[in-house]
Symmetry: D2
Subunit: 343 residues, 4 copies
């Protein structure tokens, strides 16, 4: 059994990691940190985990993370960049679920995250943990930057079109919608149920951090300059992301359905629905799947792709476990054989 | 007091008409029809209307609609086209909240509504009831086709851009989301709360009837050929529509915010939010308002406009009352001075 | 026009007061205070109020409240007790929507609210603002304690039974459920949509402040010692309270339906539904109504009454406006002629 | 691998059985019937099951159920009673998830289910499938009546109190609340999201079928005559039941917390929370658990117990799988090691 540590166990990505790891056959969670509730039993804090885990939260200092084989950071942005180096030197692998190592361009990172980067060398080393793009590199990595939730949904939906040169890359649009758990578990008036329930709203209208992440990923994967209009919305529900993606077709004769099916035929966690299907977020709830639907253009040559994921699983903790499986050479779906909870 | 009849009083547009008309100072509802619950008191059927109305549902035959000054059809598509002529001949004004008179092109109508039109001459006469486009014609009309909910939200959002020739009209995109009341009050497995709650889904992926309605309205208003990709989604909530509209700018130097403010300065029910605002559906809940937000392009010259309405008010019953006010020469906002219910 | 001030305008009771008062024919809101957003336009802060009010938030100090005819406190507990005396001396009437003047027993108040009371003399003077119990006293009051939301729903449901001596007063049960807006607009992890959505939970299992308020009100109104088990729950929705009330019948021959109808026959805001009706919170959404349903005992002689209100209207701001109307001698329903928003 | 058939695969209990059985290590689902969609692939019908099952729906006639080792009936009431005898004679075990075999008293059954019973002898044979009461009998049964959802939550919450004689059995109250999936997947206006969303309502105010089921179960288990007031409500959410149970204590000196902990110490699927805990339905979402909280009386000697289950798992399909495990002698939790999906 590999020994696993989690830094930051009281947020939604932390609790979701726990949900997945307590049933993973090859790992044991030996440390979960939290400054605010150190000393409290994890199962006392999370009723849903009663009987599943016998461990108390500890401070970062007391956690003895260097004895772990792998440490997940489920922390706010700007945390892992200060802690990763020591762990890596001690031979511990690291997966950061925040944004510290996602962008190679440090100027862009500084602009969007509002701080200087503390570990530029590690940014260079880090592998962007989207297995469908970087599987081999992930398998050999010490440090993985787990992708953002929107970037996972959007990138998987646009990638086949760009790889095939089928669309005009300068005019991409992503109209994305997320359940509220995507915003994290922080006391914020804007995220109260009385503010978000029974209403639908736009946010980050001046620009969103995930836009440069998607652009960089697509550009590195395809070598094509990408122009992307990215518009996020908040759904009155807890879990799930839907991305509706629009791109002008440049080659009318392409069988786009076949293109997507071929691209993802061997992917364990990408499911291309039959032509004419409608996506729904509940069809992936609780799972590590991304389901994609490719729509017929309604004239005008505008390609429409729709992508759904569970933001806490394929958009965060599940993808992190998938990356861990790759890093340790285990079967990629280990611990991730989950059926969607629908209804 | 003008005498008002409502045909089809047990659906959501019918009950919303009742909510508005019982407080309207110039009208009295004298007949509400329903085949299924004829004989039942309206206030017994709708607890929310207890104490507001003293009238029973009647059959269409018993309703003596020809004694009314105006009749609203809150019926399924294909009903008003069979009933309107007799009423009009009797001097009764008619507003149809269904789609019977919305499209001038009868071939397109037949294709999308799956039946032959029973009253082509009335289609020609009917005025499309979007006051922001057809105010004068509505004031003089006998027969008004009340717009669809999506067409109201989308048309108001795109109109200033097309009138000004500011965008490429052949590449318009409308990514629209509606609460479930937009689908009407019919027993349908797909609309059960257990199917729609805590999930977000796409529907009508093969094409939606509101797409040709929007195209025809925009083309008639501006004389420009319009290409529109229209993608509807279902929100896990009851009331509200948001339309995110995308259009490539063709003239970069336009002050689009000023363009919208000028276009709608005198409109009582269109509110252009300050630059940089985020829309939310609850800000119009229960009201006849359309609120619009114009976003800065994120590079690439893609214009983004966001539009919210309450689908049952500005998207149906409220706009019908606004049209009635115009037809009778009353102040346009009579009976529509409603504050949004938020939270 | 009477001049009205609101202390604490950024919470849900404050915004709901604004929604009601901007359409009230006899008043003008001349001051709304907020420490955090002083200087901001009220309509800039609340998009839903755009076009309805032309006023900026001010600090308490700058608000010149002593020029008002009446001031509402929509503040946290412990605020009004420090500010009311000065206003009353200046001839300003005061309605406190918090709990400062609700309990006559100061020991009980100190226990539940965790502080010493700053104005015991005013507690004695204050009138508990439940018009169905204290109408005459409210009309003559300078200082009104607006009831809590649960106490309004529960008291109206139990009062006829106790007044008639029909039930065993020592064994009352109130199983109450509230939408999340009842908890106020404060940044709190427990009230996030990701915590409350698509789930139903109990809270305050060790006891709730509204239990002694209900007991004191019922005891003062009836002279009978009351034993009450009070169990609150949080609903995954925004607005609405339902109270299911259980009481053992002591006199089997009572026609309880008739008892309720007689008790509330002349009440403008209490609606006793026909026997056999089911209550639903949406039937009172946005209104000042309390709707009550009296159920047939299922054997065993246990009486069941169900009561629904909108916690922000009859449970807070609407009842405060009703009290204001009484205090100024206006028709009691002035400004409160609202139809429920359903669906 | 045991061969399993499911009669009625298009409702919520049917799809939930599939979700659980596709991962159960000892069984293979060989037939799923549906009259309406016979011929359609199960995974084509349920997107959430894509890749999990390779089987098409068949008619009841074509299903060859007599080759199965066990057949689940996930059908409307009145179906299994006509089909079970033939299967039992063929040596097939049967678990009915509907109500056909739940009540021993056929007069009561006829009254509540509105039909004559077709198989009285089987009613006598059938074992009520609540393992916490009837474990040994279930293990030896050919025919199991799977309990209703409310009866599961309520019975587990009241049983320890009645077994210990700690409460007055004639004055029990169950105030129960259910998510909408409990009403099944049938086209019904009353269950539309536009009717149920953002609202909370009472239903079955004249009496509910689960009341006699609970009474009979408690009486058979304890030998005590039970009086139960049972009041159901509909929650604006999909999954989950909460039951708040009230009972007058007759022996003040009992340590009720200890009583519950002792009663359920060895139960794999009943979790007694620490004293002072609040229950929430999401803590059992997707799992076969019942979590119970025992509250301190607030004076007056009224005992309060709160019970939460997932109505589709412990309240239906999960309990059915638990019963199957017992009938085949497998470890009781086989295939049911599920972590709650929270948030």
């Amino acid at each position: 059994m590999m020994k696993i540590g989690i830094v930051g166990g009281t947020g939604y990505t932390g609790s979701e990691l726990l949900r997945l790891l307590v049933r993973h056959p090859h790992v044991e969670v030996v440390a979960v940190t939290s400054r605010s509730v150190a000393g409290t039993g994890v199962a006392d804090y999370y009723t849903a985990l009663r009987g599943e885990i016998d461990l108390a939260f500890s401070t970062l200092e007391a956690a003895r993370l260097s004895d772990c084989d792998l440490v997940f950071f489920a922390t706010p942005n700007g945390t892992a960049m200060n802690e990763a180096a020591v762990l890596l030197e001690a031979g511990v692998r690291v997966i950061d679920l925040a944004a510290d190592f996602r962008l190679k361009d440090l100027d862009v990172w500084r602009h969007w995250y509002g701080m200087e980067h503390a570990a530029p060398a590690l940014v260079e080393e880090a592998v962007y943990g989207l297995p469908e793009v970087n599987r081999a590199a992930i398998a050999g990595a010490r440090l993985v930057a787990n992708p953002g939730c929107y970037p996972t949904a959007v990138t998987l939906g646009l990638l086949p079109l760009l790889e095939a040169g089928a669309v005009e890359a300068s005019q991409l649009i992503a109209d994305v919608k997320s359940g509220v758990s995507g915003a994290g578990r922080k006391a914020s008036t804007a995220l109260l149920m009385a503010e978000c329930g029974e209403s639908f709203k736009t946010y980050s209208v001046g620009g969103h951090r995930h836009q440069p992440e998607i652009r960089e990923t697509l550009q590195r994967a395809t070598g094509v300059e990408v122009g992307l209009t990215f518009v996020p919305h908040l759904l009155p529900m807890v879990r799930g992301i839907e991305a509706s993606l629009y791109a002008p077709l440049v080659r009318g004769e392409v069988d786009v359905q076949a293109l997507f099916e071929a691209r993802y035929r061997d992917e364990p966690f990408v499911d291309v629905l039959p032509a004419g299907s409608a996506v729904e977020t509940r069809s992936v709830r609780g799972t590590n799947l991304c389901r994609l639907s490719v729509l017929e253009p309604q004239g005008g040559g505008m390609m429409v792709v729709q992508s759904v994921i569970d933001n806490l699983v394929k958009g965060a903790a599940g993808q992190a476990v998938q990356n861990m499986n790759l890093m340790f050479g285990w079967e990629e779906a280990t611990g991730l054989a989950l059926s969607a909870l629908a209804p």
